[in-house]
């Protein structure tokens, strides 16, 4: 009997050692049975496990309701968990490492005297944010739920939406010290196996000590770390991820992150929003064209303005020249300098407004937008036409739906401005050529970042009616190209 107790204690010590003896681990020993009783212990981490469940469904039945003699029962752990543990997700684990891992994830381990294995009970608890509508990605007509920081909840949000039997989840643990859970999800008979293996290999290469957000993974494995363009898109919305999985993409769900990123990402995705698909096709298409126009405006309009003012004044309509000259009278700064100054001021306002509480944010927009603008005009720092160009560009940059992409495009806009100030129209032409050349040389995990395919254009420049999208996008690797049948003629 004493020997058995020693085994019990050594098991507890082993697990403690694996978890780290200084952590918030709780060990509770108790006795099972009323005569010829057995020693037992439970182990869990305070705060991760739900204490109510432990008290009600583990301790209570084991301590109070065991009225039989258990000393002669063989395979005691199997018997106990089948008969007395009233928690559905319970299993027997022989490996002490795995048992220790499960304790770190909020589970409770029961150690029985005389048992060779552990009983692991899922008592995961602790408080999490409730499912709510994502603040950064609201929609008018779509579902209002968003991912939260809890991995299990996020997986359940997706599996609730996709009931296909081929939905696969694969688990990884990342971070030497943080040991964060990563789950990749995909639909087995759509995803391209070559691409999947490539992604798996990439995940295996990550060796970092701590991961706190999905953007860490993105930065660890992206192919062009110094590129100006974002290469992975993430969403807080399960419906977005759902539709991406249907196109053959792979979703990355990281424990503790409410953003789910999908691989591979192509450039067009940064200009699409969920709302496009919930609106009717005509409206969605119109919004998309407007958004692409905004991209063109942000990149080109300031530089065209500089070209016209500085080099090609003959191209400005004669009626307009007069008012332009009047507004520029008495301004010491060159158009380039004043435009740059205005753009930078707007950048400060934008960056400041991003982190301010919303109540002060209003003050900022009044001071920034109205007072500085007006004062700059009166102080003869900028002309009104320059201010107009800066204003249009900023407003247009807000129309780009993805924040990361909007910033990238604004950076390009500065480069274009410098180029046009140097070379005039040639600068703009070179700038655009270089953007196209750069984009066409970019691969994202072997998938072209930008591709022009006739079949895909209907979901890039416009948003064709849903029933016309009978094939999955050709730009994304997949096994099963047919999405749906042609069930409607027109």
């Amino acid at each position: 009997m004493d020997e058995r107790k020693v085994i019990n204690q050594s098991n507890i010590d082993n697990i403690k050692k694996l978890i780290g003896s200084k952590s918030e681990i709780v060990v509770r020993t108790f006795i099972v049975g009323n005569k010829n009783f057995l020693e037992a212990a439970i182990m869990y981490v305070n705060g991760l496990a739900d204490v109510d469940v432990i008290d009600r469904d583990i301790l209570k039945p084991l301590m109070l309701h065991v009225a039989e003699d258990l000393t002669n029962v063989s395979n005691i752990e199997d018997y106990i968990y089948k008969k007395y543990v009233a928690v559905s997700d319970t299993y027997v684990e022989g490996d002490v490492n795995k048992a220790a891992d499960s304790i770190k994830r909020g589970k409770t381990v029961i150690i029985m005297e005389g048992a060779s294995s552990f009983i692991v009970v899922n008592t995961t608890g602790g408080t999490y944010r409730a499912i709510s509508e994502p603040h950064n990605d609201p929609t008018l007509r779509g579902p209002k739920e968003g991912f939260i920081e809890n991995l299990e909840t996020n997986i359940s949000l997706l599996s609730r939406k996709i009931k296909d039997k081929n939905l696969v989840t694969e688990k990884y643990v990342l971070g030497r010290r943080s040991q964060t859970d990563l789950v990749i999800m995909y639909i087995d008979d759509i995803v391209d196996k070559g691409f999947l293996n490539r992604i798996r290999e990439k995940i295996e290469t990550i060796d970092i000590d701590s991961i706190s957000s999905d953007s860490f993974i993105e930065q660890c494995i992206e192919e062009h770390p110094y590129s100006i363009f974002p290469q992975v898109i993430a969403s807080e919305r399960p419906d977005v991820v759902q539709s991406k999985l249907m196109e053959g993409r792979i979703a990355f769900l990281l424990d503790g992150s409410p953003f789910v990123s999908t691989y591979p990402t192509v450039m067009a995705e940064f200009f699409q929003t969920t709302e496009d698909y919930y609106e009717r096709s005509i409206i969605g298409s119109f919004i998309r064209i407007v958004r692409l126009l905004a991209v063109f405006i942000v990149i080109t309009v300031p530089s065209i303005y500089i070209t016209l003012i500085k080099f090609n004044a003959e191209l400005i309509p004669i009626e307009f020249v007069e008012s332009l000259i009047k507004s520029r009278k008495g301004i010491a700064l060159t158009p380039f300098m004043s435009l740059l100054a205005m753009q930078l001021t707007i950048e400060f306002l934008r960056e400041g407004g991003l982190r301010l509480p919303s109540k002060i944010g209003q003050t900022l927009s009044v001071v920034g937008g109205i007072i500085i603008g007006d004062a700059a005009l009166n102080a003869k720092i900028v002309s009104s036409s320059t201010l107009l160009v800066a204003g249009i560009t900023t407003v247009a940059s807000f129309a780009i739906s993805d924040y990361q992409m909007a910033i990238s495009i604004r950076i390009i806009s500065y480069l274009m401005l410098i180029m046009s100030n140097w070379l005039g129209m040639l600068g703009i032409v070179i700038g655009w050529l270089f953007i196209i050349a750069y984009l066409s040389s970019m691969n994202n995990f072997g998938v072209p970042y930008v591709s022009f395919r006739i079949g895909d254009i209907k979901d890039i420049f416009i948003r064709a009616p849903l029933w016309t999208m009978k094939n999955r996008p050709e730009g994304i690797p997949h096994k099963d190209s047919k999405r749906q049948s042609i069930f409607r003629r027109r």
């Binding site: 080099f311 090609n312 309509p317 070379l423 005039g424 040639l426 050709e474």
Partner: protein, 364 residues
């Protein structure tokens, strides 16, 4: 399904790369070249001139049937021996480099005159050449995608001058066929410079991913080119007439003047800006061809090294070519010989490859 790691061109990329090897600066002056010989029937010459790219394509097709994976340089060494083969290869490389320089200087001239008179020649040539150098530094797939994207972006340029129909006279093209077959054939000969470039097909066909679509892609690209040339020449004659057109250096740009959009004072400016994209894609194709051929000749150095090395020589040649007149003179003095060389070289090569049995067959 479409993980592009093989570094091969997809059928559409192949098609548009061939198109951009043919359509470059030539189209800007083409109407004048043919009007000189064929008068108002110049546009018929353009159609007949299409025989040249078709002929080269037939040769390439015959060769590719037997050697689907060998490019021009390997084949010429097989057929003519190492020394002679390499001499021909060097001539071919010089052709690619010269073509690149011609396009570049042509671009510089047109752009400086119509859009940026305040720039010096080197200010145009040096920065713009970075783009082709960058693409060649990357890969053939980048070039293919680049050509494809720009083709779609600029396709509207071809249909834009449709506005000339309003102001043109049908008398300008009448009487059709009056100049006689001899003049029309002479005009067709003049189109050779514009159509030259199709020779790159011998370098490109081993890089095509789906060999089965070779016929389809090539005929599509030749068809597109013949259509564009004929259409532009026809419009120039239709709109400007054979007396006025030669007064312009670049009659094709004059077509853009027919478009009037309120607020925009000169549509020519926009036309040239977009046309610059077309010229640069042609330039990029030749630049790539030059690097690629160099790397085939000098096996120890990679294509990337040459992408850096030939940057300055091409820029230098382009700057030396100078003004449009001098450049035109140089083009007329060199390109006809190159075309003749290419026809003879490629014909003999194809003949040898096709009929010489036995010792030179390829193991697939």
């Amino acid at each position: 399904m479409d993980i592009e790691e093989k570094n091969l061109l997809t059928p559409s990329q192949f098609t548009f790369t061939l198109v951009s090897s043919m359509i470059g600066t030539g189209v800007l002056t083409l109407p004048n070249d043919v009007i000189k010989a064929a008068k108002q029937d110049g546009w018929i010459s353009c159609i007949i001139g299409g025989i040249y790219p078709i002929y080269i394509f037939v040769l390439a097709y015959l060769v590719s049937k037997r050697f689907p994976k060998s490019n021009l340089f390997v084949l010429s060494k097989k057929c003519f021996g190492k020394l002679l083969g390499n001499i021909f290869n060097v001539i071919f490389i010089s052709y690619c480099i010269l073509e690149a320089a011609f396009i570049l200087s042509g671009f510089g001239n047109v752009f400086r005159i119509y859009a940026a008179p305040f720039l010096r020649s080197y200010q145009v040539i040096l920065p713009i050449l970075i783009v082709p150098a960058f693409i060649s530094f990357k890969s053939i797939v980048s070039l293919g995608r680049f050509n494809k994207i720009i083709f779609y972006l600029t396709i509207f340029l071809v249909f834009m001058p449709i506005g000339v129909f309003k102001q043109s006279s049908v008398l300008n093209i009448m009487p059709i066929g009056d100049t006689g077959i001899v003049s029309i054939m002479k005009g067709a000969k003049e189109t050779a410079y514009s159509y030259s470039g199709i020779e790159l097909i011998f370098l490109l066909y081993p890089l095509l991913e789906e060999k089965k679509k070779f016929l389809k892609c090539s005929s599509a690209s030749i068809g597109i080119t013949i259509f564009v040339y004929t259409w532009v020449t026809f419009l120039a004659i239709f709109y400007l007439g054979i007396d006025i057109s030669p007064k312009f250096f670049w009659p094709t740009i004059a077509l853009a003047d027919s478009i009037n959009i309120p607020i925009i004072n000169s549509f020519r400016f926009i036309f040239i800006s977009f046309w610059a994209l077309v010229m640069i894609k042609g330039l990029a194709t030749y630049y790539y061809a030059s690097c690629y051929t160099w790397s085939l000749l000098v096996k120890r150095m990679s294509k990337k090294t040459f992408a850096v090395l030939i940057y300055l020589p091409i820029a230098y040649i382009a700057m030396r070519l100078g003004n449009p007149t001098l450049r035109g003179w140089c083009v007329n003095k060199t390109i006809p010989y190159y075309v003749a060389f290419n026809i003879i070289f490629l014909s003999v090569l194809a003949f040898l490859c096709h009929f010489k049995k036995g010792d030179i067959s390829e193991k697939n």
